[in-house]
Structures are given as structure tokens and as C-alpha cells.
Symmetry: C2
Subunit: 345 residues, 2 copies
Amino acid sequence: MSKSTLALIAAGSAVAGASLTALIFSSRPQKVTSVPVPAYPSPPPQPVSAPVSAPLPTPSLTQSPVNPSGVLKYGLTPPIADVNITPSHTSAYNRQTRNPHWVAEHFTPQSLAQHNATRRNSVFHEDVNVPPIFRAKLSDYFRSGYDRGHQVPAADAKWSQEAMDSTFVLSNMCPQVGDGFNRDYWAHFEEFCRTLTKHYPSVRVVTGPLYLPKQYPDGKWRVSYEVVGSPPNVAVPTHFYKVIYGEEAFNSPTGRVALAAFVLPNTEIPNSKSLKDFEVPLEAVERASGLTFADKLPIQRRKRLCTEVNCEILVREFDKTRQQGSALDVGQRNVGQIAQEARKW
Amino acid sequence: MSKSTLALIAAGSAVAGASLTALIFSSRPQKVTSVPVPAYPSPPPQPVSAPVSAPLPTPSLTQSPVNPSGVLKYGLTPPIADVNITPSHTSAYNRQTRNPHWVAEHFTPQSLAQHNATRRNSVFHEDVNVPPIFRAKLSDYFRSGYDRGHQVPAADAKWSQEAMDSTFVLSNMCPQVGDGFNRDYWAHFEEFCRTLTKHYPSVRVVTGPLYLPKQYPDGKWRVSYEVVGSPPNVAVPTHFYKVIYGEEAFNSPTGRVALAAFVLPNTEIPNSKSLKDFEVPLEAVERASGLTFADKLPIQRRKRLCTEVNCEILVREFDKTRQQGSALDVGQRNVGQIAQEARKW
């Protein structure tokens, strides 16, 4: 460990303060603030930080000689999940892994039918709303061996060039294995999601990374994942999840919702593999991610998506002959262009 | 991957809703709510969730055919860091690792001088305010090979039995290597922190786990850590940090603050090792943890603690002959009792 200097310590705080936030103390236990649903977008989307209401003891001066919460005055907070609301997606960013916690999207038969955009000119870009010391950088992916893998795919946002461009922000990316995964099975899985609009007038998908343990020969369970960048900065997830909500009705407070959750390993997957093999209970994703996805959706409104829909990927024969470049050099190229060549949409 | 059933999916949400929270949307960019400092404690401490203010675009209905944020109505939120405010400490819990993000404490010469408690009757207990599917359990530590390692040590809370008891909640614990670390070097480090009250009338310490990458022979950096429990549930940190604030004055809004940050590996450390070797720039802890610690502390109020104080551990000759039990069976015993025997306080 290198030793610190006062200058370094000072510098440490200078860069981190951008989107600082505060504990909001409420003496009304169990009060939960309703969630306003923002409509897109004017003025332009901005990042917001994770927020929360909170029951708390009513402050009262007592005989305690100490005040452990007093340190909050210096700027310590619960971890901030930079929330980014864009035309194509809403995301919550993990400052520790430099990947999103989740990225949420929404599409309909009508939105997918609009072809007003091309990814040809879309440019991968860093999320400047994340403080620099916590930001995933383009250079982290450069020659990393991994694709800059969209969590919300560009192809779901063809209804507007601005929307498509917004999918190229790095806070919508994770390092993904290219051949056999991002450009193959995972792409087919994304296509499967789009086809759900044949069954549901409104489809929501939440996508994100997982870091799962596996059992080693010594019987112990360990989480192990690569970190790319120099110095190492962005975690390479071991798995990815998608939670899918097939809404029977658009914007109905009472309509039923078909749910499905999938967890796929970040590795080459043969197209012969059934998507059903990757279906998991929603609770499994919740345990693994630490998130909740449907607490406010009453049980009587839920259905199981894979009993209504054949949960299998749809393999299109992409023009592989035009897919140049190995996974080792995709960082140098525009992965979007590669994918554009590979995927005939 | 096992396949889901509707019942399982339904169960997934039933258990997770306890401390649910909500996005608070504000159209006033940069507004930061002040942080009220709660005084201890009446009524009893309760957990709260991570909160945050947030700039957001002013909602306006436009031509967008989709509404990605609409999924929030089902209960998806940025990750919730269960905040627990107790007499001895305030903590923020990580639902993914089942360890805290951080645990904050405060002590003074006066608080340490009060000896009104014994850990003999303190009992390790689960944090019932964390939803069950995200909770660290006593059984996870049982025969795990690791100590239930206090982040805020019991010995800092002798001023009240209630305060000391509150340090035994599992949300104040991480799996720590016992021999050579938790019961040795780490304990000496905790003792060093207490001695800082000779120099400062008020001392704050924030402690927590890290999961750091290391470089492997293939040149790649990987994070690798064990997960204990059956099924695996609680991550075993690779390192621990402490950020120390030596306050020149108690409760002064202008007094200077001596800062130091340390990162120690979760492994046996010989007592001959200098504590200075583990001092790091505060920014290093911030990068590794994704947290910020001193954003609101102006540079002109900062000093470097280790230029004022000799940053070395204080080794007491503990009565090792009474320290029974290997690291392999501490899960079965009361680690507090072991430590009580070992540490002559």
C-alpha cells in the first residue's frame, strides 16, 4: 500500500462531490413516498441519485455520550446509485463495480414499428454524470477482450435517433463475451424479448449484471470475476439477468402482468441450448442482486410468462462472413458497427 | 438453473417488501437536503433505507412512445442500503454481499472512560430489520472458519450495556480471519484507534469491507472471495478499511479534522508489520468502496493524522493460554467470550 499525502487526501474529496445527497430523516415510520413516473424528456435527461424514504427514531437528546451518525456531516452517505433517465432507458449505476445495478426499458408494438434511427452514427460514450473516480471509461474496455455489451439493446430504441444514441452510454454497458454470447445467444434472447410484443401490448425488461459464486473442488463457494482497465476499474460480470414484464394492458393499474426471470452466464452458449434452461424464480435474481423487482405488484395480478409464451430463442442466420474482428480487438472498433453488420435489422 | 413456478415467483416478492422505499423526484437541481443528526435513542433504533435527493428533468408529456421508468411502479428501486441506527453505531447494509457497506462509530475520552458494560452476556443476533432473503444469518457463520468480526468493536461501547449489546448485531459483522487477524493485528489496530483520544477530544471511525482485485500470473486482475453459508450467503471480504477522523474540537463546525485511511488484508498479519504500511490515500478507499467519506469537509479543515500521531499498533501481551478454539470452530462458540478472555480489558 502506498502512503498517503495530505494533497492526495485532499484530492480525494475534490473529485467525488458531484452528485452528493443526503439522508432524509422522517419520524413517520412506514411512510413510503409514492413514485412519480417521469415522462420523457424535456429538458434533457439528467442523472439522479438513489433516493429513499425512511422511518427513523424521533430524535431526542439523551444521556448518550456519543453520536455515531455525526460523521454524516462530513459527507458519508449510504452508497449512491447514480440514476440516469434517458429516452431509451432508466438505469441505476453501481459505483463499486462500475457497471449498472439495473437498466430498465419499455417497448410496445408501436415503438418497435418505428424505424427512425440507425446505429451507424451512434457513438459509445462515458456517463459524464458519474463522478470521475467512479466512472467506467472507454479506455477500460479498450483491448479488454470484452464487448461493450448493451444492457438495453440499441435495436429496441429505433423509434428515435436520440433514443438510440442514448443506449450507447457506458452506464448502459457491461463487459460481455462477444463471440457466442453478446453477438449470438444474448442477441437472440434480445430478439425473443421483442417478439413478446406479439402477445403483450406493452413489454418492460430490466437487465443487469450478476456476480455469482461457484463451488470449487475444495467444497468452498467463491465469487471470482475479472476486472478490466489499467488500473483495473470495471468488473466483468459472471452472469446477466433479465426480468420481463408482459403487460396485458398499457398503463393499467389493474391489468395482469406476465413475469419471467432469466439468468445467463457471461460465456459462449450454443444456440441449441433452450432458453427455458435459464429461467429462474424471480426470487433467485433478487437474492443474487440484492434488488426487488415486483414488491408492489399484487400476486393476483401476476402470471407466469413462460406458460403463455414459448420461451425459446429465435435464431436468425446472421451474415457471419461480414463479422470481422475477434473478441480481442473489439475495444478498438465500434462494436455497434460490428453488430450492425452482424445483425440484419 | 432450476425452472420457476408461479408460486415461487409470488413468494419472491412477499418477503422482500419490508423496508421498501421510493424515488423522490425533485425538479430543483443541486438541491441537497441537510443531514439532521439523530441523537440516541428513543424510541429504540430502527433501520432506515438509503435516501437521496436528486435533480431530475421536469416531467412533461412528449411524443415518446415509451416510458422506461414506468417499471418503478412495480417496486424496482435503486438498491436499498438498510441503514441501522443504534446506540453504538450507525451502519448501511449491503443486500448483495450481506455485509455492511460501512459502520460508523464515535468515541471520546469520556465515553471510553465509562465502564458500565460487559460483553459476557452480549449475544450475537441477526438484524431482523433486513428482509429475510437479504439477511446475514447466524447459521452462515456456523463452522465457516471465520470469526463474526465486529466492524465497530464491542470494547468501544462500554459506556452502556445496551450500547455494547447493539454491537453484536450481524449487520455490524463481517467474516474475518480469526487467528492472526481479528484476534490479533486487527484488535491491536482497534486499540490504536482508542488511544487517539489522547490526542483528540472526539474521534470518529468508519469501518467496512472491501473486495479488491489482485493480479494473476496471466496478467489479468481478478476479484475472488469466498461466500459462506449453505446455500452460500455472506461474502468474505478480501480487505477491511478504516477511515479515522480525529476532531480537534467536539461538535465544532469549523474545527480542524485529522484524517487517516487504512486498508488491511483479511489474513494473518504479523505484529511486526508497521501500521503505516497499511495507510492509503482516502481516495483509494473511495475508489474501492464506491463511497465518499469527506466531500463536505473543506480542505482547509483537514490535517493528516499520521503526521500528528505515531501510526503504529499497540501490542498488548494477551493471555494466549486462555484463548481456546481454532478458527474452525469459532462459529460454534461465542466469539465475544473468546475475545473477552483474550483481551484483558
